[in-house]
């Protein structure tokens, strides 16, 4: 049914390219091929796919629904923390049990738990497991929390904000405040999540010591690719059809949608929560590949980056978000990874680690002014699609409304 609809062309092309990319990387990896792609680069690519997934969520909430949420990386980080708790607990449990192997008496469960708590929390001077770690022993419970914690936070936050009809820049500020508050809370040692140390050693899967990282990295890469494909399918389904029509209607003219009889707040809440859950899942796949998560990850700037990726890729089109996230984050890691050669201007030397942010900022401004459709606009040009001529008027009265230059005729 999906295959014969011309509107799904971009979906099929995207999924096809993703499959080709995944197979190609696998065949070039150290695990299944000659090792042209190093294990660390496989991890980078896997992480990038997770960032593409959270960018997709951002595009649905901002590009389609017009809610400029600058807090979606908080949900991403929360997903990471939730899976990180299990990874750290289970891994430490293995170590603690192994350390008791030579002792004459078999350890009691209490001894094991105390051992785990001392191992994990010694760094912040505590030796008791905080109450929020009550489910950390169970993979399935923590997986449920990966969905529930971002989901419930988004639901409560969204309900309060949308019910009071907070929109536009005020909502953006509120979401920034939310992610900042979360980061500040996490920075505290008594938050129970190891303060600014964060959770570490997440790349070591419990009970998988014998499996080399080259294999584990490619498995995570596959999982990330599968998650991105599933997320793309889900969001494609959500934004096509009448639901998508209503979302774009809310973006361009919220009051009009209300007078058509649609409960706008309910739609916003649904989208905000759904995208938060997807962001949480993306985070849960990202951080085991990154190996470490700390409160700096959910700093307000991270959520702003997310908006920059979507804007550079082209908002309001799913593939635009993926392109933007992949392109910017890969280029960014090249520049900040110290591999970009310094430029000697004679009077000063440009070191990209320091200057990259300025380049990124300037390109964001340039894209916003010169090419509002972002990289995605190239595909429109290729297809011969033009923008409507409305003398610069946006396509609706709302702040988040699609601008003339972003639209196609």
């Amino acid at each position: 049914m999906i295959a014969f609809n011309p509107r799904n062309t971009s979906l099929l092309i995207f999924l096809g390219l993703l499959v080709i990319f995944t197979v190609a990387v696998t065949l070039m990896s150290e695990a299944y091929g000659p090792g042209l792609v190093s294990t660390s680069f496989v991890k980078t690519l896997g992480k990038t796919l997770c960032l593409c997934l959270v960018a997709l969520a951002m595009d649905v909430v901002w590009g389609y629904t017009g809610i400029l949420s600058l807090g979606h990386f908080a949900f991403f980080g929360l997903g990471g923390y939730m899976i990180g708790m299990w990874l750290m607990y289970a891994r430490t449990e293995d170590i603690v049990i192994a350390s008791f192997a030579n002792s004459p008496l078999p350890p009691t469960p209490e001894e094991i738990v105390t051992g785990i708590a001392t191992q994990i929390f010694g760094v912040v001077g505590a030796s008791e497991l905080p109450p929020i770690w009550v489910f950390a022993h169970s993979f399935w419970a923590q997986m449920a929390l990966v969905v529930l914690v971002p989901g419930v936070l988004a639901l409560v936050f969204g309900w309060l904000a949308f019910r009071s009809r907070v929109t536009g820049v005020y909502l953006s500020i509120l979401t920034q405040a939310m992610t900042l508050a979360l980061a500040l809370w996490l920075f505290q040692n008594d938050s129970g999540l190891r303060g600014n140390n964060g959770l570490s050693g997440l790349q070591n899967l419990p009970g998988a010591d014998a499996i080399p990282q080259s294999l584990i990295s490619i498995w995570f890469f596959w999982a990330s690719a599968a998650a991105l494909a599933a997320g793309y399918l889900l969001f494609h389904w959500v934004v096509s059809g009448k639901f998508g029509s209503v979302l774009r209607g809310i973006r361009d003219d919220e009051a009009r949608v209300r007078f058509l009889g649609y409960p706008v707040e309910g739609f916003k809440l649904f989208v905000f929560t759904l995208t938060a859950v997807v962001a949480g899942l993306a985070g849960a796949l990202y951080y085991p590949q990154a190996g470490i998560i700390n409160p700096a990850e959910v700093a307000p700037i991270a959520s702003v980056y997310l908006a920059v990726w979507v804007a550079i890729g082209g908002r309001g089109r799913l593939y635009g978000a993926v392109i933007g996230a992949a392109f910017v984050s890969l280029v960014s890691s090249w520049f900040t990874g110290g591999r970009a050669p310094d430029v000697n201007l004679g009077f000063a030397t440009i070191q990209w680690v320091d200057w990259w942010l300025i380049v990124l900022g300037l390109s964001f401004v340039a894209v916003t002014i010169l090419a509002p459709k972002g990289i995605g606009g190239l595909f429109d040009a290729f297809q011969g699609l033009r923008t409507p001529d409305r003398k610069g008027a946006p396509l609706g009265p709302d702040e988040g409304a699609l601008q003339e230059k972003e639209a196609v005729k």
Partner: protein, 246 residues
């Protein structure tokens, strides 16, 4: 005669300015009514109150056979109860196809989950095509609404209003910016609609009101000044004074 909408002694004040002053108004289930009045008479505020956009300071708005108070309902609930509104400036979703605009307006369940799982049936497509033919946009279903001319947008909005199948249509200056032929088409659409439902038209243009051939309510300073046939109200000395000034 039974009433569909009854507005009882409603008042609303904006920053000390009394926009609506003890206004009472009633309309039956299949009736056309024109509301005229000079600028600032409270015509648009009246519509805002009925559709839930503005909450009155006092008074009551009752709806339907069971006399439900509309003041407790949200905008979307009021729309679902059967009140459709057309704005003065044509407000259609410019970045969406004509067919998408109409499909969104079709009377179907409005809650997020129902909309998410909604896929148009053949009957829905047929209804959209039928409406498009009625408003003269049958050939333009696949075009973006933003490409339509001003008059076509007005019709599209009337089509969306009809698609909602409301029991009461509130229409704000439907003929503004239309050519004579377009006005006649609009008149036909509205007169046809008023056979089965209540239609309230706010209009400045007396010729257009005459063509509607219906009872007229004159608003002035937020209250009803006169009510009756167009000839009757235009002979009312107070109405003449308000319109022509001293």
């Amino acid at each position: 005669m039974s009433t569909l909408l009854e507005v009882q002694g409603v008042s609303v004040t904006f920053d000390g300015f009394r926009a609506i002053n003890n206004l009472s108004f009633a309309i039956g289930p299949a009736e056309m009514r024109a509301i005229i009045g000079p600028n600032g008479a409270g015509k648009t505020t009246f519509m805002d109150i009925v559709t839930g956009k503005t909450r009155p300071d006092s008074g009551n708005v009752l709806w339907g056979e069971r006399s439900v108070s509309l003041l407790r309902l949200s905008e979307s609930q009021i729309a679902q109860a059967g009140i459709g509104r057309k704005f003065q400036r044509p407000t259609v979703f410019e970045d969406q196809l004509v067919s998408e605009n109409l499909m969104m307006a079709l009377r179907r369940p409005r809650n997020p989950l129902a909309v998410l799982f909604f896929r148009p049936a053949r009957a829905d497509h047929a209804r959209v095509a039928e409406l498009a033919a009625e408003i003269g946009l049958a050939d333009l279903l696949g075009r973006k609404a933003g490409e339509l001319s001003h008059g076509q947008k007005q019709w599209l909005e009337i089509g969306m209003l009809l698609a909602q199948e409301p029991r009461l249509l509130l229409v704000d200056e439907p003929a503004a910016g239309m050519t004579l032929a377009e006005r006649e088409h609009t008149t036909r659409l509205l007169v046809e609609a008023a056979k089965t439902r209540a239609v309230v038209v706010v209009e400045h243009d007396m010729d257009f009101v005459r063509r509607l051939d219906c009872r007229v309510t004159v608003l002035h300073e937020g209250a009803v000044l006169a009510e009756g046939s167009l000839d009757f109200v235009t002979q009312n000395p107070q109405v003449i004074e308000v319109y022509l000034g001293r």
